[in-house]
């Protein structure tokens, strides 16, 4: 599904040029659950942003589903993104002014799904995430674990082929964290490819494979058994 070769990304200020990704190459196959680990500043978030088509690389190639997307313009990237990729963030990033239902509905509105269909699909996914009883609440009225379940519901409502998770348990206690990891594992078992950035060895153990980064390039890959 994802084939990245010699990927480069620089951050420039007036005087210093920082290399975030240095000729990085990785591959993620369809149906895989991959964890990316490494110390702060190693480039793992940058990599996730590029994979998520939120940021463009300065060099190298990025093939997504057999298409070279490294030089896609903003519109093409947005289009590809909204149909194929779901995001889960550490800080949930729910919209405060929208109810649980409306938050989850948002991606369907942007992909142009008809209203009746939207209700059906949102209810289906809320049910699956066991958050249906909170559908008319606002995010501030939910616990952290509940908020993350809503965020995951929102990420999967469009049935994306790929879910990108940036420290999904970073703001949660361990029991809520485990619950979220179980959810991701379930999704993966149902066929969704997952790429997750994490600091937690515990969470990483849910994945099939760990990619360890240091200073912008791969230093090790662990296959989980």
């Amino acid at each position: 599904m994802i084939k990245i070769t010699d990927l480069e990304k620089f951050y420039r200020t007036e005087e210093v040029e920082t290399i975030a990704l240095n000729k990085l190459s990785i591959e993620v196959k369809t149906g895989e659950f991959v964890a990316i680990m490494g110390p702060s500043g190693c480039g793992k978030s940058t990599l996730l942003n590029i994979i998520g088509l939120l940021d463009d690389p300065d060099g190298g190639s990025y093939i997504f589903n057999d298409t070279e997307v490294a030089h896609f313009n903003e519109r093409k990237r947005a289009d590809l993104r909204k149909h194929n990729i779901g995001f889960v963030f550490q800080s949930f990033n729910l919209i405060d002014e929208l109810t649980v239902f409306e938050n989850v509905e948002l991606p369907l509105i942007y992909t142009g799904v008809a209203a009746a269909d939207r209700v059906k699909r949102v209810e289906e996914v809320l049910d699956k995430m066991q958050i249906m009883h909170r559908r008319n609440h606002y995010p501030q009225q939910l616990s952290g674990g509940q908020q993350q379940r809503v965020a995951i519901a929102r990420a999967v409502v469009n049935k994306p082929k790929l879910i990108l998770a940036d420290e999904p348990t970073g703001n949660l206690d361990s029991s809520n964290g485990n619950e979220v990891m179980e959810l991701l594992t379930d999704l993966n078992e149902q066929g969704t490819t997952i790429v997750m950035v994490t600091h937690s060895e515990h969470d990483a153990r849910y994945s099939h494979r760990i990619i360890r980064l240091l200073d912008g390039h791969t230093v090790m890959e662990n296959i989980m058994i």
């Binding site: 947005a78 919209i95 942007y110």
Partner: protein, 809 residues
């Protein structure tokens, strides 16, 4: 999508109460002011457009060719209309008409009812559209002045009666009562006409009035012409003046004529101060400019406040983008928000309009015919509001849709430098306007203050004026009996009273050593006038009640038909009667005491200190008081400072015992003098209200900017505090930038306002000089207001716990 946008906007409105309140209050105040001003402007522009023949009606205007630079005046020889109709095929009809004050003897009050009477010829039916509801008033009934009343007038004064066919009398200030035969009732007369009146009277002119004298003498009247369709008025004007030149030959014509469109009479008659109902184009411009300024300021505020929320909006924008929202969708979302804000504000503005219209009507002095509550205006206003809201919303919408989704992942703030620059410009703009109007308000205030403190040369306090009237043979008795009343110091019958303008007679006299002639004002007064006015005698004497020469009755002498030698004797008596002159006159015209002088038409027996017989808009002019014991004129009554409270009642009782039919028409001279500055006092009110509103709105804008600025510097403030900065230090640091902006605004506003107010002051012969401290004071006021506004947010930010702001990183 739209519904969802609407919903989310309403929720965020509720969530951010302070922001929403400020924004909506600002917008609705701006829009309400705009609505009110629009109503005034539309009302002013509507005058005299409602008549079906308005396009073809013209008022005749005379231009005096004899005096260089003389202004136009809206009166022409009474015979002009008939002559033009006879000789020019373009003229369909003429009508001599004007609105006069009248007093009808109806109702219980012995003083009758004061009415504004549109006195016209029967041809008025051909000019103006009146809807007859009773009687057949179009048929003129000979032998009487025909009176046509309105339904409202009938309701008010003839409830349950049928006045049609009955005769009513006037209570005249002069001469004998006039008879009016009520011939009909018409529907209401419009308010938006310069011929605003309560009743119409139809009179017939004598055949001699219709004659035009080629020697150019005769009476003047206000006349209107109805021209045939398709007449080119410029060609017509040229043709008339050509004809008139031939008509007066071999003499050069003393007058030429202009024809003023009926629709222009209300707004474009600055040359005719005496026209009772008139507006001014200048006011329309001032009003419109103010309305636009207010709207601009309100929109600036909306932009500043909305963009200031970019930080709290960034997360939402980012998430939406990650989830696939296009820029267009986001822009639409924020524009929806802007439209919603404007719509809410518009509804509130509509309510505010309703509340404030009565005040505006009081201010204008008449009811507005135009109401904003009419379908086409509301539709137009809604379209305008939508357009403005979209225009205003575009920039914030574009800006808010900018953040890349990546920023929410990085927790990074967009660079605000470009935005800051724009906002600073907006704030400087707002404060230029604010400081400008503060300066204007101060200048108007100090000028009026200055004027009220100028020594007029006479004592305006405790002075009562009885309206000009013919006091007949009982005049002297009335005067003497008035003097007997307790509380009354002195009484005078005079042709002049303070506040009526210069005088009612003047001569043009060449001045030694100057080429241009100057105007010398003459007033006639009895021996008591100087004492009543309390002017100071500098040398010579005042008139004496005992000297025959000081007590000539000029009016009765003039009325005698004297020819030949007798006429010459009369003239020489009149030209050598005692006069009193002011110091200024004596010096300017070089007249000596007790030497007969042609320039003052008499023998100066006394010189008095200067006094201002005109408003202070005008400079000092030569002024002469002729000794005259006439029975016609104003009665000026000087009351003692501690006069009894019922003095006026006592005067009235005495008046009624001698003149049972005369109404008691009095005014305090102090009030009359103040009324001369009515326009300026109103301008002061207007500036004061607008300056409050403009300053208030500008403060909202400033509040938005400081909020934005502090949000951007939260981290910096946190670090400074950790390193030991004091609250005062941080508040000062945050305020300094803004105070600089206000000072910059002062630098721009001061010369601009200074120039405009210098122009305004030219209307006064006596005026203050624009001192630097007026600008300093305006700047100080602005800075003070700005600092108060800023300190709310600055102190809050400085007091905040630094741990909180640093942790959010």
């Amino acid at each position: 999508m739209f519904i969802s946008n609407l919903l989310i906007t309403l929720r965020s409105l509720r969530k951010n109460k302070v922001y929403s309140l400020i924004n909506i209050v600002g917008l609705s105040a701006g829009l309400a002011a705009c609505l009110l001003v629009a109503a005034i402007v539309i009302d002013e522009l509507s005058y005299d457009k409602q008549w079906t023949k308005a396009d073809r009606i013209y008022r005749t205007i005379s231009v005096n060719n004899r005096v260089k630079g003389s202004d136009r005046f809206p009166l022409t020889f009474t015979g002009l209309g008939p002559s033009l109709k006879k000789d020019f095929p373009e003229v369909e009809d003429y009508c001599r008409m004007s609105v006069i004050g009248d007093r009808l003897k109806i109702g219980a009050n012995s003083d009758g009812v004061a009415v504004k009477n549109l006195m016209a010829e029967a041809s008025v039916w051909n000019f103006l559209d009146f809807k007859v509801t009773e009687g057949n008033p179009k048929k003129y009934i000979e032998g009487y002045a025909n009176l046509i009343i309105t339904e409202k007038f009938k309701q008010e004064h003839f409830k349950g009666q049928d006045p049609v066919g009955k005769i009513y009398y006037t209570i005249p200030e002069w001469g004998s009562p006039q008879q009016y035969l009520v011939t009909g009732v018409v529907k209401e007369l419009p308010l938006n006409t310069h011929l605003r009146a309560d009743v119409i009277s139809i009179t017939k002119y004598r055949p001699t009035d219709d004659e035009l004298a080629k020697e150019e003498y005769g009476t003047f009247s206000t006349q209107y012409l109805l021209l045939k369709p398709g007449t080119d008025v410029n060609k017509f004007t040229a043709k008339v003046n050509n004809w008139y030149t031939k008509f007066t030959a071999p003499n050069k014509p003393g007058y030429s004529y202009l024809f003023q469109p009926f629709k222009d009479v209300y707004l474009k008659s600055d040359f005719s101060e005496a026209q009772p109902v008139h507006g001014s184009m200048r006011n329309i411009y001032i009003f419109s400019a103010v309305a636009v300024l207010l709207l601009v300021i309100a929109c600036f505020n909306f932009m500043t406040l909305t963009t200031s929320r970019v930080f709290s909006r960034m997360q939402e924008t980012g998430v939406r983008k990650v989830l696939g929202a296009s820029k267009r969708q986001l822009i639409i979302r924020y524009i929806t928000e802007s439209v919603l804000f404007f719509c809410l504000a518009f509804v509130l503005a509509g309510l505010l309009y309703k509340v404030f219209v009565p005040y505006i009507e009081t201010y204008m002095g008449h009811q507005l015919v135009f109401s904003a509550y009419n379908a086409s205006f509301i539709v137009a206003a809604i379209i305008a509001v939508l357009a403005v809201s979209i225009l205003t919303g575009i920039y914030p919408a574009w800006y808010l849709s900018q953040p890349q989704p990546i920023t929410i992942l990085r927790n990074q703030l967009p660079s605000g430098s470009q935005l800051n620059w724009l906002k600073k410009t907006l704030v400087v703009g707002q404060f230029v306007i604010s400081i400008g109007i503060i300066i204007a308000t101060l200048v108007v205030h100090y000028q009026l203050n200055y004027i009220s403190k100028i020594d007029l040369g006479f004592d305006k306090n405790n002075l009562v004026k009885l309206e000009y009237s013919s006091w007949g043979n009982s005049g002297e008795r009335f005067k003497q009996q008035l003097k007997q009343l307790p509380g009354i110091e002195s009484v005078s019958i005079t042709s002049w009273s303070p506040g009526i303008g210069a005088v009612n007679m003047s001569t043009e006299i060449p001045v030694p050593g100057q080429t241009a002639k100057i105007v010398v004002n003459h007033m006639r007064g009895d021996a008591d006038l100087p004492a009543v006015l309390k002017v100071k005698l500098k040398s010579g004497r005042v008139f004496s009640p005992d000297l025959r020469t000081d007590n000539i009755n000029g009016d009765s002498l003039n009325q005698l038909q004297l020819d030949g030698v007798k006429g010459k004797i009369r003239d020489s008596v009149l030209n050598s009667r005692p006069v009193i002159v002011t110091e200024y006159t004596a010096k300017l015209l070089n007249v000596k005491l007790n030497e007969k002088a042609k320039s003052v038409e008499g023998i100066p027996v006394g010189i008095i200190s200067d006094f201002h017989n005109e408003s202070l808009h005008f400079g000092m002019k030569p002024c002469v008081i002729d000794a005259d014991k006439s029975n016609n004129g104003y009665i000026l009554i000087r009351l003692k400072p501690n006069h009894p409270a019922n003095s006026l009642t006592a005067i009235n009782t005495l008046l009624k015992s001698i003149y049972p039919d005369k109404p008691f028409l009095y005014e305090w001279v102090g009030d009359v003098i103040d009324a001369q500055y009515k326009n300026e006092a109103k301008l002061k009110q207007l500036f004061f209200c607008f300056s409050m509103l403009i300053v208030f709105l500008s403060c909202l804008g400033l509040f938005g900017l400081i909020t934005f600025n502090i949000q951007q510097r939260v981290k910096e403030i946190g670090i400074r505090k950790v390193l030991g900065a004091s609250v005062a230090g941080i508040a000062t640091m945050l305020s300094t930038d803004f105070v600089k902006l206000v000072i910059l605004a002062l630098a721009i506003a001061a010369p601009l306002a200074g120039y405009l107010m210098t122009q305004w002051l030219q209307d006064f012969a006596y005026r203050i000089t624009l001192n630097w401290w007026i600008f300093g004071l305006a700047g100080l006021i602005a800075i003070l207001i700005a600092v108060i506004t800023i300190s709310f947010q600055a102190i809050k930010a400085a007091l905040a716990n630094p741990v909180k702001s640093l942790r959010s990183e």
